[in-house]
Symmetry: C2
Subunit: 327 residues, 2 copies
Amino acid sequence: MHILVIGAAGMVGRKFVERLATDGRLGAKPIARMTLHDVVAPAAPAGAPFAVETVASDFSLPGEAEKLVAGRPDLIVHLAAIVSGEAEADFDKGYRINLDGTRHLFDAIRRIGDGYRPRVIFTSSIAVFGAPFHDAIDDEFFLTPLTSYGTQKAIGELLLADYTRRGFFDGIGIRLPTICVRPGKPNKAASGFFSGIIREPLAGQEAVLPVPDTVRHWHASPRAAVGFLLHAATMDTAAIGPRRNLTMPGVSVTVAEQIEALRKVAGDKVVALIRREPDPVIAGMVAGWPRNFDPQRALALGFKADDSFEAIIRAHIEDELGGRIPA
Amino acid sequence: MHILVIGAAGMVGRKFVERLATDGRLGAKPIARMTLHDVVAPAAPAGAPFAVETVASDFSLPGEAEKLVAGRPDLIVHLAAIVSGEAEADFDKGYRINLDGTRHLFDAIRRIGDGYRPRVIFTSSIAVFGAPFHDAIDDEFFLTPLTSYGTQKAIGELLLADYTRRGFFDGIGIRLPTICVRPGKPNKAASGFFSGIIREPLAGQEAVLPVPDTVRHWHASPRAAVGFLLHAATMDTAAIGPRRNLTMPGVSVTVAEQIEALRKVAGDKVVALIRREPDPVIAGMVAGWPRNFDPQRALALGFKADDSFEAIIRAHIEDELGGRIPA
């Protein structure tokens, strides 16, 4: 089969592609070819047992999405997005990439026609929800984005469902939890501390915690995110019905519970590297974010969360630190 | 003040404009000027005590929305839409008018900038909801459109909320119930019988009822719809908060209750003009439509439904039949 990944240079995209390169197959089907796309050329995975083509372009520009789908990939994984902060700072750019880009892609698939009907996975976000909401948001709660990014993701979900209903493709939208522990350098994202307070201490470095211990949030490991994509790519979509967008399962923990899990895995000395430095601006933003979900539909359809926050930390140590905590 | 009505040639648009022409003012403010737009030139209301300009154009084409808002209207009422059946039959046209047209309009307002921030009323629809749903859909139920029209309206709602949040205009979206009794000739809409079984018998003509008496639906008179628009145009929008789209209140009745109301108002002879002719296709479509709502937010914000289905029939007789049932 032929797989197209749009946004393949991002963290989740890279891990998904590496996993496929290791497996050589998707479910029971051997992979013959992958096309990896991003605004900068993605790296081809080392040692992939199939042909890999890398493409760098702005897929929101006229004609670019058509080129990407012209080879009729069997599976299209759409991970590309202008992230929350940038979509808020640059209104036009956010709408151009996140709304127009997504719609151009969907239309390019539709225009091929001729019986072409690929599986399309759209990665949405819990940013489609904005406060106030219930303590555990259920699968029928309405979309109340409080950012342009969340608005654009919610619109992508609606388009995905309608284009699927019309038979243009076989779409599934998955709302990812906050990915934790995100590997790599600290970034400026307001949510960055959720990963930072685990990642930096495990690397022997100090991390700043800007919010109270009582803050609760919704997490999934990069490994779980790859699992969501693999399941979305291979599952029987007939079971989903017309409501094609699903909140992925996650682990809901408070910051205090994150810290206690870290203590259990890595000890007091590592935990002591977390420095509390309250930041009212970040605390204010985080107060409007979802804390917990009741994702019964995704669970019933076979999507699997991490077992616990401790398991999330252990997955990080295995996947990013070679299984060892640096002394 | 200057009012722009887009979609002014439609039934609700005409009644709204006629009401403003009679009043000469909107709330406390005298109307200086109205611009009436539609794809065909709308009729100017007779005897309006203000200047009326009529414009015919396709507002989804580049530059057209800019022309409409260049005069900086204080209030913009956006009623234009490709209706459900046509948006389903002509995919490109539905998206071009209902999504692109709406977005072009919103962007044209945004691009004026310079402190311009008009009140914008967007008429949405209960078609943003699709089965299965609760018996009475509450204000937090998620949007589950099962038509391209409903999808386009849901996207318009999301854009309205985001553009309002960003301060580009002061938007309010109102989800209209099915308008009943719709005046004029019978049309091909699958929902047409809800009006037809009242309108035709009152005019001494036979009407066909294609669904069982037990079918329940959500209704508002044209008079109530005009009331919603007037309230949305004059209310204090600060009370709404960031969730700018509201399900309007209506009257939930079964077809049997519609018929008994007609009997009470007009007698057995009129009711005898309703002929039952089951149509499984129409019955199947109607089975997926909302039956009842619990529109607490709109009620708390001062929107008023008709008192009863009997009141809806009496409003039709007063407004369309000169207060008399033809013998």
